[in-house]
Symmetry: C2
Subunit: 130 residues, 2 copies
């Protein structure tokens, strides 16, 4: 089982992992996914996000929003009005990424218990649980 097969597409000597890392560097933040998900079904306002993502601080919301916007994953639209109205919407690119994230989610769902078991076993075997 070297290449070609479905499970093992990469060549041994070279590590193209950096590409995957690039994604994670911008999506791996603690809040990026939550925001991306919330924005994937239509424009969302700042305060809506603040409530939907839940747990996020104003600071981190702003920061993550800026980064996602900068990378072209979110589009920020300001509607000039008496009470400021700003909306964030996922771009096409972000929606595609979202599909990939679903793959990850599915994987997590499938192996959630297996991982928990593995951890428990490991911790038990190594006696001290941290």
């Amino acid at each position: 089982m070297s290449q070609g097969k479905s499970g093992v597409p990469f060549a041994p000597g070279q590590a193209p992992a950096c590409t995957a890392r690039e994604v994670l560097d911008r999506v791996g933040g603690k809040w990026s996914i939550g925001i991306l998900v919330a924005a994937s079904h239509g424009p969302v306002r700042f305060t809506e996000l603040e409530r939907q993502v839940e747990g996020i601080s104003r600071r981190m919301l702003t920061l993550t929003l800026r980064n996602l916007e900068r990378d072209g994953l979110l589009r920020r639209t300001v509607h000039p009005a008496a009470p400021p109205r700003v909306e964030y919407a996922a771009t096409a690119m972000a929606l595609e990424l979202h599909e990939s994230l679903v793959a990850l989610t599915t994987w997590a769902e499938r192996h959630r218990t297996a991982i928990a078991d593995a951890r428990a076993a490991y911790d038990r075997e190594h006696c001290a649980e941290r």
Copy 2:
């Protein structure tokens, strides 16, 4: 899953992002992917990894290895011998994850330039900084 449309599978009010986050919390580390990739095509030894991942320190290699092993993504085998011989191999679970990572990689590949452009445009528009 529950929702029919291809790009927007999640329900608005709820954020199942935590599940995706769980994955990223254990795979989002700086070196996890590189190691996983290197171990996905057969058992690899410690020093091999040290060379293949390239840039990684002994410390981080050990730490990441331990975490991946703990989560059941790598299997560690010690061959008792005069010169110690330890091998790390990806588990079936890890290989499945690997497929998902390929999806991410593909996405990154496709949008690499678009993102770079978005960044440049954003930075230009916002004038200063780096």
